[in-house]
């Protein structure tokens, strides 16, 4: 049978890609090495967190599945950074590692136009630099219009523990032996990356009395804009906190050479934001202790994930290390920590629609692109599914700006700067983060989701209704005044009196005044949802800063509006530095703005390029 779309790999990227393509009405085949591992969470049991939580909201706003699926699998939910500004608040869930994959599989199975096949893909079918299908391990050929590779860490994966290197994917699953070699054969650059995971310990072997408890929030929330919370607040499962100590550090230092990393057995490049515990002890030698989190993995089994303790030490050393920790003196190991090395492509060889520059109709998403994290993977999967569909439909690609979404920042970073280490989304990567908030993902993206056909009319109307209410409330606050005869009311609100009448809008600018207070005292009708009130309040209170960022966006847009033709010959642009010329040829930026963000391209190169572009007109 032929399909329009083939997705290779059933992780978070693969699931979103398959769902997006099939929801956009294209017959889609999801090929996975093991159906039981679909939407598996091989590392930490949490979804969201700063920046990442906002990615999940964006996925949901566009019509992806990760938000809803997380809401169905909660062990605990927390809003982070609540003492900071609205721009950096984000949800983080502990998600059940049994429920999450189960719910996702159910959704996939119910989806029209989507088929799932258990197999390994060995090679692509390529004709005239266009991909037209895949070849399975057994030689079977399946044809399609586009192929999306979401192979995670499975390409030529090796598990590293101490001086032992064993071919295999996460949890010793079968790896993909040949696919990355074959990709290289077509001229695609392959890089080697590394990541790691900490040990899993038996819940009942931990002495919780010695540990600090960390509970979930006492307010019901949800990731998805379309899902009402179904979990019980008091049934949330707590996390716990412990620390390393001098003794732990001694064990690590004494055994350093036995770790894969320091023994010289690792070739791949690991992420700086996810250092192994031995890395932390070596690089931050003056720190007396390092913080560790004990996170539950599931309601249905007893594994506890020891966050902050990823290591590639041999098993016996791992045991000594863990047993040196307070509360874990008698901890029983269910799984040992390991490092994993895998092949990835160079994302600079990818266009902004996630299509490969060398092979047409080949899309890639997730860890194969050099990223790390479930959320980053899911986001790319969704965008790859959308763009693959648009390619089939002969429509222009769907590319989000850095000012529109963290997803836009993610894709722009990957395709403009590339990455030499597994890329994780961080708040600091987004220069316009005040515009890219957790609370306004729907306002930023739902319209797109609807246009793409991923948000149905019912959800869309609900969203439009919300926008209407926001306008209505804003308008009410602008046009309703508080006058001097109401100064008693202001006393009651513990705010200074007024000399002349001011609008409620102006009043809300005062840090001590909230819309809810004005509702309580009867100045604002009590007919608005919390979501609407939140939107309006943020836009009033932080108006100055929001406007500042919007001005910055305008500056950037001016550069983004200067398009670079895709047939540009950089050899004809005079006086470019040779490094800049090479980088420009490799990245092939779409706009002058994108060109300025390439490392190694200097302002004088940009001047020459812009002169060339203007003369061409």
């Amino acid at each position: 049978m032929n399909y329009e779309v083939i997705v290779v790999g059933g992780g978070h990227a693969g699931c979103e890609a398959s769902l997006a393509a099939s929801r956009m009405k294209h017959s889609t085949l999801l090929i996975t090495g093991n159906i039981n591992n679909i939407a598996d969470m091989p590392c930490n049991p949490s979804i969201g967190g700063p920046a990442k939580g906002i990615l999940v909201r964006e996925i949901d706003a566009l019509g992806g599945e990760m938000g809803i699926n997380t809401d169905k699998s909660l062990l605990q939910l927390k809003m982070l950074n609540t003492k900071k500004g609205p721009a950096v608040q984000a949800l983080r869930a502990q998600a059940d590692k049994i429920t999450y994959p189960k719910e996702m599989l159910t959704t996939l199975n119910k989806q029209e136009n989507l088929w799932i096949k258990e197999a390994f893909v060995d090679d692509l079918i390529v004709a005239n630099n266009k991909v037209i299908g895949v070849i399975l391990e057994n030689g079977e050929k399946i044809y399609s219009k586009v192929v999306i590779l979401t192979t995670g860490t499975y390409l030529k994966a090796d598990i590293l523990v101490g001086d032992k290197r064993t071919p295999g994917g996460p949890h010793g699953e079968k790896e993909s032996k040949n696919l990355s070699n074959n990709l290289r054969k077509y001229g695609i650059t392959i890089q080697r990356l590394k990541t790691g995971t900490p040990p899993r310990l038996l819940k009942s072997s931990i002495d919780y009395s010695k540990l600090t408890r960390e509970d979930g929030d006492s307010v019901l929330r949800s990731f998805s804009y379309d899902f009402s919370p179904i979990y019980q607040l008091d049934e949330q499962i707590p996390c716990y906190l412990t620390y390393t100590n001098q003794y732990t550090h001694e064990i690590i230092t004494d055994n350093l050479k036995k770790s894969s990393m320091y023994g010289g057995y690792v070739h791949g490049i690991g992420p700086r934001y996810c250092p192994s515990i031995e890395d932390k002890v070596v690089r931050f030698a003056d720190k007396e202790r390092h913080q560790l989190f004990l996170e539950p993995e599931s309601r249905y089994y007893d594994d506890i994930y020891l966050q902050g303790f990823s290591t590639s030490m041999p098993h016996d050393v791992q045991e000594k290390m863990v047993h040196s920790l307070v509360g874990l003196e008698k901890a029983v190991f269910l799984k040992y920590a390991y490092a994993i090395e895998y092949d990835a492509i160079d994302p600079l060889e990818m266009k902004k629609n996630l299509e490969n520059k060398i092979l047409e109709n080949l899309f890639t998403a997730g860890q194969i692109n050099g990223t790390s994290g479930y959320e980053e993977a899911a986001g790319q999967g969704l965008l790859a599914g959308i763009n693959a569909s648009l390619k089939i439909e002969n429509k222009p690609p769907f590319i989000l700006g850095r000012n529109e979404a963290y997803l836009g920042v993610l894709i722009d970073d990957l395709t403009t700067r590339g990455t030499k280490e597994p890329y994780r989304m961080l708040t600091s990567r987004a220069e316009y983060r005040l515009l890219l908030r957790h609370d306004n993902a729907d306002i930023r993206l739902r319209e797109y989701g609807h246009q793409l056909g991923l948000i149905n009319d019912e959800k869309y109307h609900k969203f439009k209704e919300k926008l209407k209410k926001i306008d209505e409330l804003k308008n009410y606050l602008c046009t309703t005044k508080i006058v001097t005869s109401e100064n008693n009311l202001l006393n009651q609100l513990n705010t200074s009196r007024i000399m002349n009448g001011i609008s409620l809008y102006e009043l809300i600018k005062r840090p001590e005044i909230t819309i809810n207070q004005l509702i309580e005292v009867g100045k604002v009708p009590n007919i608005y949802s919390d979501e609407v009130i939140e939107q309006v309040e943020i836009s009033i209170k932080y108006e100055g800063y929001i406007r500042k960022e919007e001005k910055e966006v305008e500056k950037m847009q001016a550069m983004e509006n200067i398009k670079i033709p895709n047939d540009i010959n950089y050899d004809l642009v005079i006086n470019l530095a040779s490094e800049a010329r090479d980088k420009l040829k490799k990245v092939m930026p779409l706009t002058l703005g994108q060109a300025t963000r390439i490392s190694g391209v200097n302002p004088s190169d940009i001047t020459m390029l812009s002169i060339y572009l203007k003369k061409g007109k």
Binding site: R272, P275, S428, P603, S604
Partner: protein, 451 residues
């Protein structure tokens, strides 16, 4: 390439003529708007015309204007060159007027760049042109740094380092909120850091002001009640030195009564109503007009009469000038002193006698000291580039003001960080450091975080 650019094309310093060059489609049209004389739009190409530059119905300078029409010009665009005669301040004013009327300030090397782009200069000269174009980014910055006396670059680098420390700490607090081992930046930290910051930036600007006077002269205002000896002090100065008297009433907003040169540095005496109109005007009005000029002055000379007790007006003048760079000149020191010296605490005081010319050398020495005149070197000084960098530093100060306001309004730290990052970027532009992944590098090298 459509816009019209202008710049002062002659070296800045004391010279008889300076030229403002204007190039672009609208060059003739724009100059014509501010030119009083022939209609330049009707004149032949490559001709010179006499007239005035006028602003708000005020004659700014007497000029000769050369009109050269495209394409037979240096840039192959319309070019107008204005020969100004009124000294640096006037030339600058002419430039400002052009900027207000639709010209853009040319970047370093931009006339040459246009010449190249429009095919006026051969490609074989590409190397030289690249140098000029690059000067906008690299060389211009280096040049600018030379202009800033006192190791400004070092200072800015260290300020940036401080700043990136706070920024990366705030970022880590955002991205890893649950690491209670990591120091959480507080509003108090920020406040104390930023006040140190502000002081450093203010210092850079004041150092710049010192060097600025090289090209622009020291704007000096003499204030005092009528008949305390203002005019005679001025006359002594102008008599005893080779004064350049450019008393052309109505040519500038600031009327330079006269100038003297201290080792090539101009001391410009700015006219105040108090000096020009002595007896005719009511005392009060004269003094009030002087006050307006005090704000703009680099140096204020307060004249008091030794033989009279301090009047309310004197005290008012002293109060208005207490934060300015000023010298109190007690005139008529041969007469009995009736001045209450206790009112002059913390002031720079000199005794003089303008009629006998005594005390003048003291005064000059004091001025030399106040402005470091014997230390300021004239070389490597580039006004335009410097002004750009100073404008950037002033931009930073403005952002610091914003932050102060925001702190009053309980704006959260993570938002203020946007301002901090802005300052960090602007300072980076000044010293020519481009943002790369510096922040992330800092973040991961300083803080221990991750699974």
């Amino acid at each position: 390439m459509q816009d019209t650019i202008c710049a002062i094309s002659t070296a800045l310093g004391v010279s008889a003529i300076s030229i403002v060059r204007v190039s672009g489609n609208d060059a003739i049209k724009i100059v014509n708007k501010v030119f009083f004389g022939k209609n330049l739009e009707n004149v032949k190409s490559h001709t010179i015309h006499y007239g005035y530059i006028v602003y708000n119905n005020e004659k700014i300078d007497e000029v000769l204007v050369s009109v050269m029409k495209a394409p037979r010009t240096f840039t192959k665009e319309n070019i107008v060159e204005i020969n100004c005669h009124g000294g640096i301040a006037t030339t600058k004013k002419v430039l400002e007027i052009l900027l207000c009327n639709g010209c853009r300030l040319a970047e370093a090397g931009e006339f040459t760049k246009r010449a190249f782009l429009n095919g006026r200069i051969d490609l074989t000269e590409a190397d030289a042109i690249m140098d000029l174009i690059n000067s906008k980014t690299e060389a211009a910055r280096k040049m600018a740094m030379k202009g800033l006396e006192g190791n400004a670059k070092k200072l800015i680098s260290s300020l940036r380092k401080d700043l990136i420390n706070i920024i990366s700490n705030i970022e880590v607090n955002i991205d890893y909120p649950e690491y209670n081992d990591i120091y959480e930046v507080t509003v108090q930290d920020l406040k104390s850091k930023l006040s140190i910051f502000r002081n450093s930036l203010v210092k850079i600007i004041s150092e710049y002001e010192n060097t600025r006077i090289i090209s622009e002269g020291i704007k000096t205002v003499i204030v005092g009640r009528p008949n305390v000896g203002k005019s005679s002090l001025l006359n002594r100065f102008l008599d005893t030195d080779k004064a350049i008297v450019t008393d052309i009433p109505g040519t500038t907003r600031d009327i330079v009564e006269g100038s003297i040169s201290f080792n090539g540095i101009l001391l410009d005496f700015i006219d105040t109503a108090g000096i020009r109109e002595t007896n005719d005007l009511v005392e009060k009005i004269g003094v009030e007009k002087s006050f307006e000029k005090i704000d703009e002055a680099d140096l204020v000379l307060v004249i008091l009469n030794n033989n009279e007790e301090l009047t309310e007006v004197d005290l008012d003048i002293l109060d208005k000038t207490k934060d300015k760079t000023s010298i109190v000149v007690i005139n008529k020191d041969d007469l009995n002193s009736r001045i209450d010296i206790s009112k002059l605490q913390n002031r720079d005081v000199i005794y003089a006698n303008t009629l006998l010319s005594s005390g003048l050398d003291d005064l000059k020495n004091r001025i030399t000291k106040l402005f470091n005149l014997d230390q300021i070197k004239k070389q490597d000084y580039n006004y335009i580039t410097n002004a750009r960098e100073i404008a950037k530093i002033k931009e930073c100060l403005k952002i610091l003001d914003d932050i102060d306001m925001s702190l009053l309004n309980d704006i959260p730290l993570d938002m203020l960080e946007i301002d901090l990052r802005n300052i960090w970027n602007i300072l980076g532009e000044i010293i020519g450091e481009k943002y790369s992944d510096e922040l992330l590098d800092e973040l991961f090298s300083k803080f221990c975080v991750g699974k």
